[in-house]
Structure formats: structure tokens, C-alpha cells
Subunit: 240 residues, 4 copies
């Protein structure tokens, strides 16, 4: 299971408060806990690398891709977005984190203006309620996960209905948010997970790590049939 | 459009505080606002009437049925439940209110133990967030509806995934709840709406009345094909 | 209810067999039956007009847009596609017909390579089975609609799960296809309807016309809240 | 992974043609191929055993239950149905085969008259089309599965919308059918799979066996939280 963790990697280099939490960047924090949980083939990629670190070769050798971006969505090239988009359709799993909801990639996969939602940065408490305890991604998770301080996201989140709504978040300021959801596009499985603002140590929380490790296993789909792109005549069934 | 409003009609007769809010019973409050909104054929039915007021004739002449029950679910006869259940499958609209989630009827339609959820009576604030502003039932409703004091319901609500999740509620004590949802069963359209604890004047709120009037129009389906019950052989398509 | 019927309008001018069926173009056939069914404000637009006939003003004055395209999807400008896409998110209804599944617009709304499917042109019989007789779009439609000769479309149709699957088609050559479906994107309601190959007189069939008239009423959503595009901070709930 | 295969076990004892195909009963055919595929703890149970072989102890020690019934649904006791229903809600996986759609158990889980559908016994060809190649249950399955001779089932199948529609079947006589679907109820995962009429050797087909083996793994959910039955007050979140 080959995993690539992508990060725009800005805040950790420019803001002291964030650097203290993630001195090696959010991507390396995620890489670390994945490795501690037994995933042995984890690499990272960041915006400033050539082709943002997401060459065709890297993507062809990635089974599950994590995506964390926030302030530099506009700097991701359309060519790389198209390349990742096509790999998702062909079966690469995708885990979109937090403000990745506003990335070109996620909007292209949703078919909506998914950047649109309410938000507020004031360290409110978030309680994530588990509404699908039967689901593989929530195995080992109890009735809820409490995050002491988080950026607030609120509905209306402009997305199509998810395939599966797994968790709904409560915020102390009055909002709710669909915060853990699955989608599929082509042969690719997509998990959107809301938590992870850069100013709080959320990716160190055991329950968050548990959910993300479960999500990697869920999204892994190496035998997915490839989707042909472009014009596609097909033979009659009698020639099958 | 022929509407019947059913109520177990207990609290309004036995508790002074409730009688003050609904002196003629919750059913008559609902009847009143429906009539003020132009629905001219509204009748009521209550538990203590013969056959709970839901004879076959009444049901055959009902297009949309409201259901409010709380403490006396067990006193509703299985025969009447079966009769209502069959009429729903045949296309009668059904609007289940508040603690009706625990009725025999709703559990039978859900196929789950939908009586199961978290709850607490302490007058918390409920904010209902609109996540489907495109939906006919929410026409004229803004980003949210604030209910100053309500009984708290919290997830996990043991229901199948709804056809459409329209609103998610926030409660000041920390819970969230899927509070406005649609389902279909056979030819019948079902709307579950969470608000309406008997100790608060919730059915007098203009926004609540607006949603319920919209829901009646949405659930109305007089041309629905009837569902045959029992064993059902069918002819080959060539005989159509 | 202001309706615009868009057509790429190619086959009807270049192929004699098609001209015989639709001498004024598919768009005018649709316009005609809509008017006969009581829709009084129907206009048409075609690819060769300036801005493909879909100026901002036309779109701002359109409540429901029909889309028929086939061989010239690539000639529709990205600017017009973006303009229509944004109007859909803002609540304009959209009815995508037949090979419109491969249009830039539909692919952008789906977030998938929805151009991908099996197909075959040999005049097979299509039987469309009604699996949601409770749905407003299928009011007045029986158990199935038989189309004597149609182009065959077959699964796998690369789309996200629809909100509602209304009809499934059977083809004499062995394929099945999800042929009538709803989606919502932002505040816009979308209906995809498979039939309508240009070489068969399908839009003259009463049942097809009935479904499309129902779909116009279903998609009409004039009070839809507008979706803001771009970056969107929101106030705390306490300022509501 | 402890599996129990339940069968009403009638046709194999009373009809010579069926006995030839399944001399030890359908249940033992399923048991055999499961064991050949590495499932080591498989038992069987049949209608005529005490409590139909489904005592509380058997169910408490079953992770995934297969259900095949046809002519004797009415002979299954309500008490056993309730017991199985509760175990499903508590997380036992359930695989309902073929005419099990009309069992008391399945109807109770669906909340509809799911016995209702079109059917015809004349050995038509069934082509099952794979519309979710990304799904774990269809791993290793190609674009379709062809069953040379099967009983025909046709829509309208009176079920709630499934969580996931995995396959749609085509029949040579003109029908279509949703033939592989998932549902969840409480913590239990349910898979309905249409093929398996007793007069054809369908459970010997490698592709059918592959799908059912995949389904067992998918339905296995041993850590599912138990659902409480009955009246259920809950503490405030502050006591969590």
C-alpha cells in the first residue's frame, strides 16, 4: 500500500506558532503516524517541488493520496490537478483534509462550489458525532470525538449528497457541519475529513489518527478497473 | 387535499402546563394553522376514539396524515398500525412529528429500532441548519431556524439513511440531530420533523408552520399507484 | 416559468433523414410540445448564435434550461460553460438530454468522466422501467415506457450516485442503463433523461413529452438562494 | 469469522430435478464453496430443526448469516424472526438470497412490501451488469456476469432506496432488476443478491461464489456496537 501525503507546506514555514506544532510540516506528522501504524511505504510531496511533487510517475505509484492545502490553492497548476483527477477516476484513493475542501481538485470532483461554507477562527470546541458506527472507517471509534479547540466550519457546505455521511460536528458557537463523508468518482474512493486546522495539534490526537488509518485501508483499491478517457465506442454485448 | 392530524392527546389533558400551551390539543393547533394557510379539508383523530379515529374509511379519505405520539405508543393497536402502514405504501403522505420516532408505525416503516436516540429535557436552544435550500419543503426558509427552548435529541438516531437529509440540529448541550428528513416507502412519501415537545409552544412558530405546510404539499401524491399486498405473479412483458 | 431549449443543431441541417424527423430542429420540436402543454414563455438557443445564444442576460431570465448536444461538445466555449454552470448552482433547473451526458457542462457538474458508457446505433428496442412511481417526474407514467427503436446506451455509466434513480432501461441487445435520474448541485435541480437519438422521432412520443413537462415543473426553483462564488468569510452565529 | 447458512430446505427434498442439482441442499453447496475459499467456521441451519436451527446461542456465535427461503416463509416463527432482526441491528452481517426478498425477516428490515415484484419461471438469460467496480463486493468481477438460465425478476421491486446499488440485471424477456444491493440497519450490514433459483446450478458458478465470498468479508463487523432495545434515556453530554 503506497501512500503519498501532499501538503502546500506554507504555514509551518512562515508562522512560528504553527512551526512549533508541526516543525517538519503537517505532511511529515501524518507520514510519522502512518508508519507507526504499520504503513511502510509512505512518501511526501509539497507544492514547491517540481510539478508539486506529483509527477505522473509518483501518481502511478500511489494507491492513496492525502491532500492538505489552504492559502495556495490557486498556485496548484491545472495540469497537475487534471493528472490527479484522472488518477482518482482510475482508482487511486483520495483523502481530502480540512481546508482542502476549497482546492481546485476537490471542487472539480464535487461539481459544486465546495469552497463555500461558514467559518470562524476562534478556537471553539468541536464534537464530532459518529452516525455510522457500522462503517469500516469508524471502527474503534466511540459515540463521539471531542476536539478541544478547532476552527469552526458550518453549513451550508455546498457539496453534492455524499455516498455516506459518517460524522456530524457540533461547534460551541452554534454551527453544525458534515465532517466525515465518503464519495466515489469513477473507480476512486474519496474520504473528506474536516479536522486539521494548522494552529491546533489535531493530527496528534489518537482518535484522529485511528480514523485516518482506517480511511487509508478503506480507500485502497488496487484492482480498480481503469477508466478510459475520451471518446469511447464499445462493441455489442454479443461480442463480449 | 384531505388531511388528518392524529394525536395521542394525553399531556394536554393531564398536565396543566401543557394545557395552557395547547388548550384544544396539539392536533387542533396544527389543524388551525393548516386552515389559516388555505388547507380546507382538515380533520383530527385521537387515540381514545374507536379504532383511534383511524378507520379504513378515514384513511381511504386521507391524502396526508400527521402523527404525534409520545407516552402511549404501546396502546396503539397492531391492527390500526398495519392499516396505516398499508395506506402509506399505497401513497398516503405521512408526516411524523417529534417523539413519533418511537411509534410502532415509524419503527415498522424504518426497519430499525428508531426509538433509540439520546434525549434530555432541560429547555436547551435548538438551531436547525438548512442544508437543502433547493428542496420544496424548505422554500422560504433561511439559513437556519432557531428554537429558543426545546427537548434535546441527539445522535445516534437509529434509522436507515434517509432519501434526503434536509436539516441538521444543533443543541446548546453538545448534541447534533438529523431533524428534517424524507423517506419513501412504496408509493408513500414520508417526512420526519423533529421539533414539537409538548411543553414549548413550537407549533405556533411561523417557520415551523411554513415547513409543515410545505411538507403537506410535498407529500401529497393522489395518483400514486396502489401496491398489491400478498403473493403476486405477473405476466410476461409480451402480454403488457 | 421561463424556459430555454438549447441545441447544438447540427444533424438536422446536415442529414436528410434527421431533417425529415425534425425539420425545424430538435429544439423547436421541444418548444412546440412545451407550448402545447401550457408553458407560454419558451425560447430556443443554438450553438452557432453569438455566445451560443446563452448570454448572461438570457440565462438570468431562464428558469429551466434544456440541453441537447452530440458531435460539437468541443465547440462550446469554456466561458459559456462556466456561465451556465454558475447559473445552475444558483438555482436554474437543468434538463440534460441523451448525448448531453458527454457535454463539458454535464461532466463539470458530475465531477466524473460521464462521457464514458457503452453505446451502439442499430435501432434496438428500449424499455424504460419506472422504479419510482411516487416521484413527481413520473406522475401519469405507468410501469414502463417502450421506445420501439433507439440508440443503445449501456452501463457502466461513469457518474456519481444520483440523488434519485427514477427509471432503468432495458435494450434488446443485452444492455441496461440508468436512464432517468435527478441530481442537485448548489441550489440547482438537474434531471438527466437518456432518450432522444436524432434519427428516431422520440420527442414526439406522448409519454416522453409527459415526463419532460413534469421535469420542468420539478426543476423550477425560482426562490433558490444564490450561491456566492469565491472566498467567503461568514459572521459568527451570534450576529445572525 | 463464524458463518451460518440458513435454508428452508424444501425443494431439494421434494423435487427430483432440484435434488440432482443440490443433493445435500443449497445450504451445503454454499457451505462447501465457502470452506474451499478459506472460511473455516461454517455451519448450517434449516427450517425443520428446533427453533429453525437459529437459537439465541447460534445467533450469538454467528458473524454473518445467509438466508435462502421460498415457499415456507409463513412457517418461520415470529419469535425467531425477531431474534434474527435484533442480531442484525446489533451488527451480525446478513446475506439475503433470491426469493428471500419475500421472507418475513427481509420485509421487516426493509419497512416495505418487498415481496412485491414481477417474476416468471421460463429459464431466461440474465446478464448482471456491474455498476460499482470500485466496491469491495465486486472485486475481481468484470463488466458483467452472464447467467445462462434463471428465474426472471423484474421491477418494480418495492424496497427503500438501497445504500449502494451494485448490479442491475437484464433479462431476455424484457425486464430489468436491481440485483445486488447493500443496506445497513443499526450496526448490521445487509447484502441482497438476486440469483439462485433452485432449478438452476447457479451457486456453482465461480463468479457467483466470488461475489458471495467478497460479501461475507464486507458484512463482517465483529466490533459493532450493540443497539439497546426498548426505552432508552441517555445522560447529558457533560457526563460523557
Amino acid at each position: 500500500m503506497r501512500i503519498t501525503v501532499w501538503n502546500e507546506y506554507l504555514h509551518e514555514r512562515t508562522e512560528e506558532a504553527v512551526r512549533k506544532i508541526y516543525p517538519e510540516g503537517i505532511h511529515n506528522c501524518i507520514k510519522d503516524f502512518l508508519e507507526k501504524n504499520g504503513f511502510s511505504d509512505v512518501r511526501t510531496a509539497t507544492l514547491d517541488e517540481p510539478e508539486h511533487g506529483l509527477t505522473q510517475e509518483v501518481l502511478d505509484n500511489t494507491d492513496v493520496l492525502f491532500w492538505w492545502g489552504h492559502m495556495r490553492h490557486h498556485m496548484v497548476s491545472d495540469e497537475v490537478v487534471q493528472r490527479v483527477y484522472e488518477r482518482v477516476q482510475d482508482g487511486m484513493g483520495l483523502i481530502v483534509l480540512h481546508s482542502g475542501h476549497e482546492s481546485k481538485l476537490f471542487k472539480k470532483l464535487m461539481g459544486t462550489n465546495s469552497g463555500q461554507l461558514r467559518w470562524r477562527e476562534c478556537g471553539e470546541t468541536e464534537i464530532m458525532w459518529n452516525i455510522r458506527p457500522d462503517h469500516p472507517i469508524l471502527q474503534g471509534i466511540g459515540a463521539n470525538v471531542v476536539i478541544p479547540h478547532e476552527e469552526t466550519y458550518g453549513e451550508l457546505f455546498h457539496i453534492p449528497d455524499p455516498d455516506e455521511l459518517l460524522m456530524i460536528s457540533w461547534f460551541s458557537g452554534g454551527e453544525v457541519f458534515r465532517s466525515a463523508m465518503t464519495f466515489h468518482r469513477g473507480s476512486g474512493r474519496i474520504f473528506y475529513f474536516k479536522p486539521g486546522h494548522e494552529t491546533y495539534p489535531i493530527y496528534y490526537m489518537p482518535e484522529v489518527q485511528k480514523i485516518l488509518c482506517n480511511a487509508v485501508k478503506w480507500a485502497y483499491n488496487p484492482d480498480a478497473p481503469k477508466i478510459k478517457f475520451g471518446y469511447c465506442p464499445e462493441p455489442p454485448v454479443s461480442e463480449l
